[in-house]
């Protein structure tokens, strides 16, 4: 009997916990008297990057669709606002990963930075004229700190996801799935 491959579900579970922790961090950062203002981390690009680089197309697509729908459930935008750009980023990265060493940590960081930036730009474009105008400085600062956090957390997140998958019997480091 063929074993059902539910690694996308495990990856989604890890992404869910990660986004929950990010939400809690953003909650505590809303009241930061020491640095005089609010900060907001947007790190949804990390789970998408992991799915694009370490999972097969089908598994990565399932994990990304679930993660994107989870992330946009609390957003004041129409359904699909984050899902479609995230899916596009996943598919594009999956198509391009034959051209570089996807197991290389620097590749992971580059992909995560690019995907996170694209998702932030997509949300900014959808939010329309309200988010533009005099809010450019805040937008730029949030963008930079989010990208810095992505760069700092990529290694940890990828390792955590790999370890989590390993706990459920999916050893990505040694098994060979669909090429490349």
């Amino acid at each position: 009997m063929r074993r059902v491959d539910y690694r996308w579900l495990v990856a989604f579970g890890g992404s869910f916990v990660f986004l929950l922790l990010v939400g809690q961090a953003n909650h505590y950062l809303t009241d930061t008297p020491l640095i005089g203002g609010t900060f907001h981390f947007f790190l949804t690009g990390l789970p998408v990057a992991f799915a694009a680089l370490r999972l097969s197309l089908g598994q990565g697509l399932a994990a990304t669709l679930a993660t994107a729908m989870l992330a946009e459930a609390g957003m004041p935008f129409a359904p699909g606002t984050l899902l479609l750009p995230a899916t596009a980023c996943l598919c594009l990265t999956h198509a391009m990963r034959v051209n570089f060493n996807r197991l290389n940590p620097s590749s992971a960081i580059t992909a995560a930075l690019a995907i996170n930036a694209v998702l932030m730009i997509a949300l900014t474009a959808v939010s329309g004229p309200f988010a533009w105008g005099g809010a450019w400085p805040r937008m730029l600062v949030d963008f930079l700190i989010s990208e810095a956090a992505v760069a700092a957390l990529t290694g940890w997140f990828f390792s955590a996801q790999i370890a989590l998958l390993g706990m459920f019997g999916f050893n990505l480091e040694t098994e060979l799935r669909e090429s490349p």
């Binding site: 004041p76 699909g80 939010s127 805040r138």
Partner: protein, 276 residues
Amino acid sequence: MPRQRFLQARPFLALGLVVVAWLIVPLVVKSLARVSFYEFQAPALLSASYLRDLQEYWALRVQSKDELIAAGRDIAHTNARYELGIRENESLRAEVERLERLLTLPVRAGHRYEIARVARRDFSIWWQQLWIRKGTNHGIPVGAPVVYTGGVVGRVREVHATTAVVDLISSPNIRLAATFAGDNRPVAYLGVANPRFANPRGRVEFVPGDITADAREPAQLVTSGLGGVFPPGLFIGRIQKLTIGPDGQFKEGEVILDDRLSSLSEVAVLVPIDDL
């Protein structure tokens, strides 16, 4: 070779399929999926909030009795002031009802206060919203006004079984009908993207030309009661500067909101009594 081309094109085929499927799928299915994913994460959200309350409780437990007695004394003074205000409010309310009967005026819609703890604050450049720990199970309707001791918090945007999402008045998608304290001419308040290292901000437009404001005597902006959502007279913010708008007829200016909006832990939802 054709197989290799197919493998290279497969991600784009998958993307095309997802886009087409998303366009075809009915809106009710998308909304159901959205609600399902929201409710999926709601228990985790609430658990984190309850854990924070537990943390605060144990932090208070380690405080000395002297500190607690002093805090209790301060609260008693505040309660005494509020009790006097409540009695005055009740007598004014009775007077208003007597005058409404006497002059056969339409009765104003009443509200009941549903106190709710804030489960999570989420302030980004795209939205400013709170999750509160009450929902349809507590009779919270969509669009209900939300207030706190300092005035207006915002409006309920989404309601689920045990949680609700509140748009803050500093959120870019909030519009309110307002007036200046002591004046009954309506003006428009709107939320704007908030700058860094500053209090939450909003914007006021269509201000009559004779109204002035400066840093020494800031003008107070309050709700007008128009539209029937917010009761009249609730504090919104202060205006320190008004400038002539692009049309040359009305003024506009920046509204400085209370910085306590960034640290709210408890709010009150005004539930219309007619909806009970």
